[in-house]
């Protein structure tokens, strides 16, 4: 490997990015325009379409019948799927990693509170008051709308037997300060998916770049120099890795300018950008495969969409509106894990060492490397002539 050769090829790719209007638009301007367009268009909270939600329940009560009945009633709604957790910390960890969509902490005084109400329904002075804490997934707007109302409804019409939600009750339902559901806009929930969305268009640019170089003869010409195939590929990967970093920074910068604020520390945000950048390697691999199949730059554009569309629909913000089966299919595309990791980091505030983030990073890294190697192999077999 010769550093001079590699750096000269990287510089050449960057000059193309800056000087070719179509490339400049797709790689640099498109992510900014996409983010700004979404920010300007989706500042409001949408309606709900999801049918069921997983709730982590931490039952701190003395184990009386009322708390057990209340939890049973929650499950019986069919809207909430209840999982028991032993501690608030473990439940919060699951929430931050997207394993559950809400955490509910049943206080120690819950049974006594319900009993006091049922014994003296009209004598508020004799009630034992308590607070039922509810923590919600910030990555989902729907959770914020559905879960609190369902819990309130089950609490009132179930164990307390209160018909009207606004009626006085000794059990107060709170959504603590961690959760700011009302401040979440559609744009806030879309931003993690925008990083992957912007990057997947690299597939098309890489495919066009290689087919154009092949058509013009420059690819073969470089091969007549002492430059090795490994140096050419290394330069390409480095170029698009750098472009991936720039894209991620542009999306983040545009989102910040529109008021978006990732819910994590600087290191958490940095890790998110790293994951988004690593994803560009995957797109270089898909681009090479598309370039191997395509005979012309025009055909490369069309073939790129075979790889681009599944990633777009199954792995970015677009997938939020898909059916559950389509969302499950998303687990087979790398962009899903990029969006999931960024949701955990930017929206749920997950720790950078949390298992979900680490798993997502691992899947993105390994799948990107495998797809890149596959792309290089196929291109060297089929794509050079």
């Amino acid at each position: 490997m010769n550093a001079t050769r590699i750096s000269s090829l990287v510089k050449k790719e960057w000059k193309k990015t800056i000087r070719e209007p179509a490339v400049l638009f797709m790689i640099i301007l498109f992510p900014v325009m996409l983010t700004v367009a979404f920010g300007a268009s989706f500042g409001a909270t949408p309606g709900s379409q999801q049918e069921s939600f997983t709730v982590a329940v931490v039952n701190l009560s003395s184990g009386g019948n009322w708390s057990a009945e209340f939890i049973h009633d929650l499950s019986a709604t069919g809207v909430l799927s209840v999982n028991d957790y032993q501690s608030n910390a473990s439940a919060q960890s699951a929430l931050s990693q997207g394993q559950v969509q809400a955490v509910m902490v049943v206080p120690a005084a819950f049974d006594d509170s319900v009993q006091s109400y049922l014994s003296h329904p009209s004598e508020q002075g004799d009630w034992v008051n308590c607070t039922l804490s509810l923590y919600l997934d910030r990555a989902s707007l729907i959770v914020g709308q559905v879960v609190p109302s369902v819990v309130q409804q089950v609490l009132g019409s179930g164990v307390l037997g209160v018909e009207q939600a606004a009626a006085p009750s000794p059990v107060e339902l709170t959504t603590p300060s961690l959760v700011q559901v009302k401040s979440q806009s559609v744009f806030d929930t879309f931003v993690p998916g925008l990083f992957a969305f912007a990057s997947i268009f690299l597939i098309m640019m890489v495919a066009q770049s290689f087919t154009t170089d092949r058509e013009s003869g420059t690819l073969r010409r470089v091969a007549t120099t002492p430059t090795s195939a490994s140096e050419i590929m290394t330069a390409q990967v480095l170029s698009y890795l750098l472009i991936g970093v720039v894209q991620a920074l542009l999306v983040l910068g545009s989102a910040l300018a529109l008021g978006y604020r990732p819910d994590n520390t600087l290191s958490g945000v940095a890790l998110g950008l790293v994951i988004a950048s690593v994803f560009s390697v995957c797109n270089v691999g898909f681009g090479l495969i598309a370039a191997s199949i395509a005979r012309t730059a025009g055909a490369a554009t069309g073939i790129s969409f075979l790889f681009l569309l599944p990633q777009m629909f199954l792995g970015t913000y677009v997938g939020m509106a898909l059916s559950s089966s389509a969302q499950n299919a998303g687990r087979f595309v790398p962009s899903y894990y990029v969006t999931d990791a960024l949701n955990s980091l930017f929206t749920r505030g997950a720790a950078i060492t949390s298992s979900t983030v680490m798993t997502d990073l691992g899947v993105v890294g390994v799948s990107s490397l495998l797809i890149l190697l596959t792309g290089i192999y196929i291109f060297r077999r089929l794509g050079q002539s």
Binding site: R5, L9, K12, K15, S216, V222, P226
Partner: protein
């Protein structure tokens, strides 16, 4: 490995290249000594470019061997490519780079030291007559200008062996003459030059020897004057007609 004391710059032995059932080059054997300008003449599809591509390592021969400056192209490809400058038949330049940037890039791909590269770039750009246009992007060049950039890219490294595949196609007479003069200057500097051409007057003017290739076979070899004398011909075009019964067609 490179052989000591061998003054053959290019050695081709029994080179055969098949594309499926089509034999593009058929048992070609040729030795070109150092500091010779050798012209490979032949019509479209005769095997000239395939021979060049085997020399550069772009194509793997079906059989036979090719050596450049003693390096076997198949086993020591990087060393062989390191002593060659190649101007392919297609202009093969980056349209979004300027003429100077294209030339610089190829100097860097050959790892020419930075201190030496600038001088070499200036030299070859001046030699191909692109001083005034070197700062413009190549996408806005005419076909002839692109070909001149292509030649400058091949020569920026001051290579020992130069392969020029149809170097003056599409050039105006003045530019063509400038390239011929540059080739003669390279010959005087001890460079070995293998060129393919359709222009018989070009071959007569600048080649020490020519080889006539037809249907993949080398059918005649000698100096332009000896071939003309042998066939009682007025020029090399006439030699080709007497050898093959047809004219060399214009490829450009």
């Amino acid at each position: 490995m490179q052989r000591e004391g061998d003054n053959a710059a290019i050695t081709i032995e029994e080179l055969t290249k098949d594309y499926g059932e089509v034999r593009a080059v058929d048992g070609l054997t040729l030795t070109i000594p150092e500091a010779e300008v050798f012209g490979l003449l032949g019509p479209n599809g005769s095997g000239k470019t395939t021979t060049i591509n085997c020399l550069t390592g772009l194509l793997k021969p079906t059989s036979g061997t090719v050596e450049v400056e003693g390096y076997d192209v198949q086993t020591h490809g990087r060393e062989a490519r390191g002593v060659m400058g190649v101007s392919p038949q297609e202009t093969a330049v980056y349209s979004y780079l300027t003429g100077r940037e294209n030339v610089e890039l190829f100097g860097q791909l050959y790892a020419v030291p930075k201190g030496k590269l600038r001088g070499r770039v200036d030299y070859v750009i001046e030699k191909v007559g692109l001083v005034d246009d070197a700062g413009r992007r190549v996408g806005r060049y005419s076909g002839g200008m692109k070909r001149r950039v292509s030649i400058a890219m091949a020569l920026v490294t001051d290579p020992k062996v130069v392969l020029l595949d149809e170097p003056t196609v599409g050039m105006d007479p003045q530019s063509r003459r400038a390239i011929w003069d540059f080739v003669m200057e390279l010959k005087d500097a001890g460079k070995t030059i293998l060129l393919t051409t359709h222009y018989m007057e070009e071959a007569e003017e600048i080649c020490d020897r020519v080889g006539v290739i037809d249907r993949g076979k080398l059918i005649e070899l000698g100096t332009p004057s000896s071939l003309k004398a042998k066939y009682g011909a007025d020029d090399l075009e006439d030699v080709f007609i007497r050898l093959t019964g047809r004219k060399i067609r214009e490829e450009a």
